[in-house]
Symmetry: D3
Subunit: 341 residues, 6 copies
């Protein structure tokens, strides 16, 4: 089984610790991005995974490729192209003070890439599973067209396609609304992953939940997921993450899965000292992809995904630096965090 994840990877610049921008003349400089985060997670779970993106040919992009390779992600399909490396600036929040992201990702090499730039026969060579998100079609019109080309090629090759809808309100600037694009793209997807806001903004499907309230009513999610499965008969299943944002530090975290036959609801985790919540959704997606291959029952698949992403909230950076055994330990009930020595 060989996996391919496709999308952007950015330089992430964050002030040290809990500082606001430029309190010190210093940035923690790492790499991340939704689809790359999934690839690294899958590699950390021991899977054979390739990453596909377009990067400029410079020393910063070279360091980025090295970082992926460090985790065992295959990087030989990464292409060079015109354009820059995208950047996002992140300022951590606490309590009532939200984290803030400043995007500087226009004109990135992947945003400038267009249909025809990628040879999909080569890219999909030996690949069984393709992962894409709603971010790539949001960054530029050509990247959207390239994304459509990708999922169509994948389906033509009978490759399983997973897609994290991942709505980003500050992207989608090239003239199309998210739902115009995503409703079409999802027709080529087998496994959909989303949160409540994604469902609403990317697919136009609403329920009566208020994401700003910090509290979620779990009972509505069966209905929401059912509606989407009805609209898209190609979907095998949809998984939805459930985040209760009490404050920047304190979140409830759970997930649900609807495979048309049953609706599964996971355990809920209380995370009271969030270290870094960026990449939490990506960790869920990777956990689900792993779980689908590793377990026989849907409940376990879902529990693995939720436990994996729960742990991500305790790790600095976009990347989920945990192993299968770390996740299974939590999934099987040990939440005490006792020192392991």
């Amino acid at each position: 089984m060989k996996y391919l994840s496709f999308g952007e990877i950015m330089l992430r610049l964050k002030p040290p610790g809990q500082e606001r921008f430029f309190q010190s003349p210093m940035f923690e400089a790492t790499f991340g991005g939704g689809e790359a985060n999934v690839a690294v997670s899958l590699a950390n779970f021991g899977l054979d995974v390739e990453y596909l993106t377009v990067l400029p040919d410079n020393l910063i992009a070279e360091a980025c490729v090295q970082e992926l390779r460090k985790f065992g992600v295959g990087t030989k399909r990464i292409q060079h192209g015109e354009g820059r490396m995208g950047i996002y600036y992140l300022e951590g929040g606490a309590n009532q003070l939200p984290s803030r992201v400043v995007y500087d990702r226009s004109n990135s090499a992947i945003a400038l890439a267009k249909p025809g730039d990628i040879n999909w026969d080569t890219a999909f060579n030996q690949i069984n599973w393709f992962h894409i998100t709603g971010i790539t079609p949001a960054i530029s019109e050509t990247a959207m067209e390239l994304s459509m080309e990708a999922v169509k090629a994948a389906k033509a090759k009978k490759i399983t396609v997973s897609c994290d809808l991942n709505y980003r309100k500050n992207l989608w600037k090239y003239g199309k609304k998210a739902s115009e694009v995503m409703c079409e793209l999802v027709k080529y997807v087998d496994i959909a992953i989303a949160n409540e806001e994604d469902c609403q903004k990317s697919l136009g499907v609403k329920i009566n939940a208020n994401v700003e309230s910090g509290k979620l009513d779990v009972t509505n999610y069966q209905e929401l997921s059912g509606m989407i499965l009805n609209d898209y008969p190609n979907l095998q299943m949809i998984a939805i993450t459930l985040r209760e944002s009490q404050s920047a530090d304190i979140n409830g975290w759970a997930g649900c899965l609807n495979d048309r036959e049953n609706f599964y609801l996971s355990q809920k985790y209380e995370i009271r000292d969030i270290v870094d919540r960026v990449g939490g959704g990506d960790a869920f997606a990777a956990g689900l992809i792993y779980g689908l291959g590793a377990y026989n029952d849907k409940q376990s698949m879902l529990e693995f995904a939720v436990a994996a992403s729960c742990l991500k909230h305790s790790i600095i950076g976009d990347l989920n630096r945990v192993s299968v055994s770390d996740v299974e330990k939590l999934m099987h009930g040990d939440r005490t965090g006792r020192v392991q020595r």
Copy 2:
């Protein structure tokens, strides 16, 4: 509308992160002090504010002036004088372990300044609002005399005077008790700001609250504020902060305002992962001064002050690095701390 804040500004030396003194041979070196913190907050809220102090003529004081200027605080009225730059050492606490402050502020240039050293006509040129605190009269006898001179000159010029009572038990070493001085100084004040301990120690007004208990009985505050307004007919209003100290990390935070006509009580915020609580009261004072000019209703003025100071607890350093829109977002109810991207 032009504001002048007057007092000391010190070098603040703190071990990195959660370390105790000299666990590493390193100090985080920033600047702060009650009145300067107010000035920076006002500048961050977009107001036209000058800072007035006396500093030595050396490279450290020069860096301090640069820091104020960085935020847009006017620094041209700052004077040079004999004496040193005051320092305070701060060690952060956690849980049951309190933060600790070691003062090294004797013989600072502002402490050595005396009546006559400041030309108040120049200092108050174009000024409509003057802010002072109970700290300056506490640092030396001459600084006390200078403070009295200041408020009298301000009143003579019909400048609005706000005063944060700010009782500091380890100052007041020159032979007078706080209440001997402050009861006189407050006669020249229009807007008083305080916490429960300040009322008691600076003005000698007591209620049956135990500040060490970590729990506050809100109902007593209407009585307390009323007693002070009775004693000082010059006061237009008094605002009092309400802190519930459950531990070094977990505080409840609210405020109340008595304008003789009504008693207003703010929302209460639960702050469960305090990043730095130093400057919380100063952020409240600045929020109130801003609010008084920006809103028509007293409740909003108070809510702005409390929300602004609530956010301060999530920011490292003395200075409240938030904008009006940050504060209004919280004040209008969004406490979820969700990532803004």
Copy 3:
């Protein structure tokens, strides 16, 4: 009164802040180890204490000795010997993610030390109290023999012996089970200190508590301590720490003491933002040893031990950097963590 603590001291290597191993190419490098932590705590409480260990003759061990001396611990009885300096790598956890320890302490100088290497007449010169733990007999067969030699020599000299049972499941690799050794060693002990797991694994005494559950039933501890006192008539008393592990950050913390006459239960502390829990047990042991000399009533002795170790959870590193007055302030009820200025 002069104290001697005996055991290993290791180099502790920890990634900065909340990072996982090698997120940055950097380690915080400090020193620690159960018995040395006790010695430093006793010195911080103002007692006259010597540390006894065996170290290699190199620059790293020299720095370790300097660190002990810095706190006023006597280091002149420390011997040089063949072998290395033990190391432990520590990765901090958060929430559901546990802290992890990687030991690299085989072939340390103390592990290679054997009976006869230490002249106990010299080592015990002027000593009234000897502290040892269950770690030293766990690291090697010769260290176990040396430990037995030590307690026998101490008893022969009528020195009071305290022992923290301190079970470590990843040590005990030389062919003996902990209980085979510790049941014998405890016969030479006056004051035993333990947690529930230690009682079970080191002495083979069980109660129906589940240490993995994060919740402890206090009522069982009277029975447990009673059973041990019955088995070992030489013991004057046994103190047991009670940790409730809700997560890596949130622990309940208390202790109990059984002196055959009475069973004492301490106040319980809720620690909600643990900074570093390594060394918490050692801080308890040191607090108890101090308390036994400083107070007349058992309840105060126990309360001092629990308060001292509660504070340790808010301090980075193995060492408990608090004074008697810090501990007494908490012990007498001030848990508010208000800034001391």
Copy 4:
């Protein structure tokens, strides 16, 4: 006398100390750019200087403006516009290993700015001196047109124009060669500043010097400067920096000035432990601009410029953090670097 400097200002990202890119996941994050460096230098020399640029309206650009304001540079003429903030990545070299710069400045707000975007009447209000460089016309065609508009407007207002030719071979990508543009732009300049390569690449004027050799033949510079003054009768004078690059750490540094009447050659400085040579040329330009106003003789003007820029090589970052007295001390002969205490 009021000065205006106009151009880009970028975020500068550099690995800590002597590390290569991403040896640590950390960047030193400061701000710099040729024209901004000149503005800060002039402010440090006590002059009244404004900076003019176009920046995006985001938190990073806001921090950049604060940094300029910190030094007393006027920032009220800075405009917001579409586009990003330019970035340059810098890796320090040593010995035979060169420093490396990776530019990421395409589509910056200043590069997207076009004629008409700046109201020159407002921009030049009260301005007597205008500084521009050859970098701005290199970054985009519209920026080139804007630059031409700027110098023409300046001349129309009889403002003195200084220009540092500053050839950058990796810019100039929009289809024009440097010499096509600069030969025209220089016609509106009063004071030209350059190094040997700038003369050749920007103005097409060559002498027989080999900039790669690390050694410069001073005698050719009189001829070179004379040729340029002949070609551009509008020029009052031209100053040229003379750098001998023995290695990344060891440079000789001097300058010459030709004012049509005389040719002046400065003292030469041997800089053997270069701390940061970026911004050395900008420090020279600022020193010359200051010198022209401060001294009566050309030799002193030149010596000030060379001494100021010599000192820059010992300071980290783009900005020359020295005062007039620091420069004059060196200029008058004290090169010993003895501790001042």
Copy 5:
């Protein structure tokens, strides 16, 4: 062409910057070791290289493997075994103060490995070139036997064998002298690499040079290399590095090569601000191995090796982070270190 390098890789712990041990409680933590440094260098030059070692199965060793993989070194042949990960502590020197190394590498997994532990058929699968050094046979008797087994197996498979003699006086503790072992091992080597001290201590061949003097007489090296080639008819060539140690910061650096037909002497580099000289010899070895495959003439092969290792002295850490183009730029004469932008 596929390369295999075999030996130890250690954790390297160094105080930050120019600090001595424990001036700060901090270590820079990287990985290095003679043979691994060669492997990373070869990968940086674009070659297909595998690393072979034995490591324990823990989180620190896992990070080490990730680091190798980051550079593109193949890590799949690395084996797990009993024993620890070796460590070396490094303190940087300056001027007359030497750098110091404290070894803690006893009982490492590779030191405990013994003949039979490695399947050489698998290890040498597809390998054309095998690199080994004189360090591995120095660390333990079994490692010595394993090294002998390795070179014999390599020769049996007609694999080219290169060996850096690399004498380390503080190893060789198991009872054999270096020369007893190395004189035998070199009989299986094709390409020998050494410095003057290695020749003397590992092979017992002396010339009249004094390595402590800081000055080397180049003329003796032809004689020295000739003597060794005479003694070992199997050797195709021997390359010797020539270091003139004027101080910890200032070294002259050159190399020579004797291929029996001719004696080649390289350019000499003056390195006046050494950043980190550890790994300089390894960079030479890797440069030579690369050069032998890349160039047709011996002089170029040698010049590449010397230029590559010259650059290493300007890079922090054991690893030579330079590309072929970086080296060729220097080799072709550009020593000026001018900023590349």
Copy 6:
């Protein structure tokens, strides 16, 4: 033999690495001061040494005492008194840019100490050697009187007195010139230590050397030292350091010694990459004091002092972290700085 050193010890605050004040909001925080530096050096050489000073009773001073104790300096004679802890701010220089010191040491506890505050019988108990410098009499009138009291008491007890004249032009503010005081104090001294400027400013003895020139004429020093020995018949000998300041990084360093019988001149060291020259003179003084006890010939005594202080220039901080064997290695000729492994 037991030594006592007496004077101030200050907190030293320095920006990280080569930064200027407040480029980062960070200070390296260590402790130092002429006499304390001597005490630590002597302890590092294995001597039995006590430090005597007056410090305030706060957490910063407590850390300072711990730092002295770490090196084995006896701290039990240190007294608490009114006043603060002195501070000096240090900015490192490079090349032509000088290091800068900002003193903030007024009103320190030692400056406020006065005759009678120290019981000299207790202080000198078992002491054979007393070290004092010209700094203590410079900081205040009472400290001057206390210094006089000290040397007189020492002479009365027949204790050998060494004094480093150590002229500081920015002290001596209480109304006396250095020479008025020092000419009297030196009458109680046995061993005088000085540089050229000290001789001139403290004792009023001049030669025709220009300390600003960076070059020293050694031949004048015999005359200079002879003049002083003539003036002060009580002096057994005088040692003078010879610094050639070529730049902030590059100094020549040597010393001479006149014992009335002979004039000894040391080797000269070229220090080309100075790491930190503060404390260089103190290292010389300590080296001389050690040498006088350790060697039989004056030349060796002097050479030890010069070699010890030469090494200090390569170590960060005031303290000379070298051992006798480090110094002897250099003193016996090994200047190559080769890695010791």
